[in-house]
Symmetry: C2
Subunit: 361 residues, 2 copies
DNA sequence: CACACGGATTTGATCGATCAAAATTGTGAG
DNA sequence: CTCACAATTTTGATCGATCAAATCCGTGTG
């Protein structure tokens, strides 16, 4: 009554182990008649090859690893859920499993790679953020381990840099650019940017989009005045908004939903009614406007416009590239030059929302 | 230059494979002198036993599985991050790895169990929610697979029921009871409950705590009037709050932060200033009060009081029980009757917050 | 009719560990 | 000095698959 194995099935069917193995791994080598007979028996017995035995022989585990970063803020970290889910789903349907691990630092992450490669024989890794001059990608590359990154490579100065490893990222600049355009279309002209300190490449990228769109619209002269840096918290957003409002901004594009949330609150409170009904600093229709970034559930709940990252698509692509790298090496002769883009910048989408009245009708 | 194996190390050291294996798995059998010599060699060579080979022989993978539920709401789903992180960390330090998988339904989840057990040889599973008359726990139990649940077992009528599998849960009733007590201490007497429809056992449990505390305080006569059911969304919370306010509630305990968020908005908007500065339905100090549930990041950001679940502790305990079950079976003679509680109800904590002014000073 | 040939199938070795049992060594009693 | 017995170490088999090479088989050919 125990689990069927290649050997047990083989003796039942009066064929050799190898024939069954071939039916599964190289069907063309088996005569159609036997193939079908074996396939039927496999289905009937519910036979499933043992991954451990297979791994021992082939040195492939069909297992991908990913570090779970220490929970951040949670408002913005909420998109991790979606990413992780899509990643797991995509890996699963590509025949891979996903193993999680934790690490306190990037150095420890590297030590974990080493251990997981040796012990569990993971086939590849997914990195969920890139840092300037990333030691982890260097290490993985040197070791010849397959991996794919959600995040562009940055040089030590925080500038985008070429690299030949696979990565997927979302074009943050395009997102903020879109936000500015939306606000311009609404008639706003004094559009501020509320972002992080300049040490963050991701933050700088988002700031860049705002600058680009403002310059293109002929408001380049406001780039200094209307650019404010703040701590990435709700309180930071409120404080920054107070500054921007005092400089005459009627709308603002934020680097995160946390900041945008703070901005909304500030506008509502400091000039009661300003946000919804006009008055105080307000745009042409009498309303001040805020756009966040990441389109977190909070934004949706509060009716905050925000830039939505296509994280599901990013996750699927990460898996696509990584599995192509892993599976494709054998079939490299056939599929040379085809395959998915190894480096891909996805365009985000600006979700325009009408602020919720926050009261039942 | 390739990875050291038991055999390669053995020949270098001029001892047998088995001796090295014993140093790792049964050190007491090895003479101290050799043991140290071997240990030094292991460290020097950076030897790590292959999990695949070990699994093939021992039939244990040191791998635990968990289904990633389709992302829910996201406001409340945010605590999954924390749970998952703590789970991974605890599993890791117990020497286990965590494998994720997806399933569309509970039936598919069972099919995945079957496949993962056969193929990957997972040692156990973690279930992250329990449903009334749960088919999954029945299946796992029948199959003799180790598992632990975050969530109490409920019978088909949604009532708590005894079961002999390990589980950990948070005492929701105690949470809402604590919320009520906090509001009573603030001087409120007309405290409403804004919860989910009665089909949800978890929701009913939370409602129960409110009822208990209200009755104990002598407000049992209000249990019908001040109990409102709503859809678990921000809009639902706003609508329910309108009803509760019209019935004279000055404070409300909610089943979730989504509802509480809706409640806050409703209070702010429908009676401008009510929430912060008194007026309209308000408590003794002139303020209406809302308490949410789950202490999501949004609650923290907005200064919403909420009931915090000790999810990290729950995760650690789930792993503790599960690994004890798995590791302990061998040592059952020694540790009989000891070990962690197989069933544990954790007390949540009410986090009292002062609503943020939402404006910078 | 023997023989080469390619497709289909089988055999034996192997991946790297642990288990079970056997062999070796050391120790104290008689 | 020998023998029983425990402590320590080694040997051979095994887990369940795949690889590489060998064998088998039916055909077409000279």
């Amino acid at each position: 009554m125990s689990r069927p194995t290649l050997a047990s099935l083989a003796s039942e069917l009066a064929v050799s182990r190898q024939t069954i193995s071939n039916v599964l791994n190289a069907p063309h080598r088996v005569k159609p008649a036997t193939r079908e007979r074996v396939q039927a028996a496999i289905a009937a017995a519910g036979y499933r090859p043992s991954a451990a035995a297979r791994q021992l022989r082939t040195q492939r585990s069909m297992n991908l690893g990913m570090r779970l970063l220490p929970a951040t803020d949670g408002i913005n970290g909420a998109i991790l859920d979606r990413f992780l889910h899509a990643l797991t789903e995509a890996a699963q349907s590509a025949g891979y499993r996903l193993t999680l691990f934790c690490a306190e630092s990037d150095e420890e992450e590297i030590r974990q790679y080493e251990q997981l490669l040796d012990v569990a024989g993971l086939d590849g890794f997914i990195l969920t953020s890139s840092t300037p001059d990333d030691a982890r990608t260097r290490w993985l590359h040197a070791r010849g381990t397959a991996f794919a990154v959600f995040g562009r490579p940055w040089d030590s100065a925080g500038q985008p840099v070429a690299a030949d490893h696979p990565w997927v990222d979302v074009d943050g600049a395009a997102g903020t650019e879109g936000s500015v355009k939306m606000l311009l279309a609404q008639g706003h002209t004094r559009i501020g940017f509320l972002g992080w300190h300049t040490g963050s490449p991701v933050g700088n990228d988002r700031r860049l989009g705002w600058k680009r769109a403002m310059s293109a619209a002929g408001y380049g002269q406001d780039l200094v005045t209307l650019n404010v840096e703040a701590e990435d918290t709700v309180a930071g957003g409120a404080a920054g908004t107070a500054v921007l409002a005092s400089r005459g901004a009627t709308a603002m594009v934020c680097s995160s939903d946390s900041l945008a949330l703070g901005a909304m609150g500030q506008l509502r409170e400091s000039r009661p009614g300003a946000f919804l009904r006009g008055g105080g600093p307000a745009g042409p229709d009498g309303q001040a406007a805020v756009v966040g970034f990441d389109d977190t559930p909070v934004a949706a709940a509060l009716g905050l416009s925000s830039v939505a990252q296509p994280v599901e698509e990013a996750a699927r692509h990460v898996i696509r590239v990584l599995t192509h790298e892993l599976d494709g090496s054998g079939a490299s002769l056939l599929s040379r030059g085809e395959g998915p883009e190894r480096q891909l910048l996805l365009a985000p989408r600006v979700v325009e929302r009408i602020p919720l009245p926050l009261a039942a009708p």
